[in-house]
Symmetry: C2
Subunit: 104 residues, 2 copies
Amino acid sequence: MALAAFASISSKTRLRIFKCLVEAGSGGLAAGQIAAAVGATPSRTSFHLSNMSEAGLVSSSRQARQITYRLDFKSVGALMRYMLEDCCNNNETVRACCVAKDKC
Amino acid sequence: MALAAFASISSKTRLRIFKCLVEAGSGGLAAGQIAAAVGATPSRTSFHLSNMSEAGLVSSSRQARQITYRLDFKSVGALMRYMLEDCCNNNETVRACCVAKDKC
DNA sequence: ATTTTATTTCAAGGAAAGTTGAAATGAAAG
DNA sequence: CTTTCATTTCAACTTTCCTTGAAATAAAAT
């Protein structure tokens, strides 16, 4: 799942969608609004959103005709934790960057 | 640079190399040792190492015939910070996961 | 029922990345 | 200066991913 998440956010368009959804917060955004915000076609946006969904980065729910996408902040947190703990073995240099900006 | 770094660690083999270099610590490992450790051919390993080098994740230096690769822990820390700060806008849920395991 | 709006799915073509094995480089040793 | 060892580069092939535009689905309004 971590590999898929890393692959997902390594696309320029998807990282833009990601940031967009961070700004939107827990309320999320409809697919069409996301497409407009990042300047991509609906079908391309839909493609990228389902990629992000498979990677566990976003969740979705339908309200009438619109489908709202929300960033799964817990899942993103778990990804960061995986990186820090499982990949970096809690390395101090890396950990310090996560705690305070000036340590980095 | 962040995009390249995410793309780099989204490959199974490269993530294995990454973990291998975390274990090796600041002393690093020679290319051949890395290849043996991850069970990949020298040429494939070399390919992946130069990908990681371009992404800024590792540095290298030659000692006689061997080339030692080291993980750039500062660069990894900066990547984590970028993710937390620039991408996630210091979101509390995400930040909590980086600070303490039980919060995640 | 038909139309409109929002979104997804599909097929096809193009671009990028991964793999392999052989050849090339660079450095030390005989 | 030829051989050996460690690593990289290259070419060819395969696989995977991205993009586009058209068609399909899903829900609401007329």
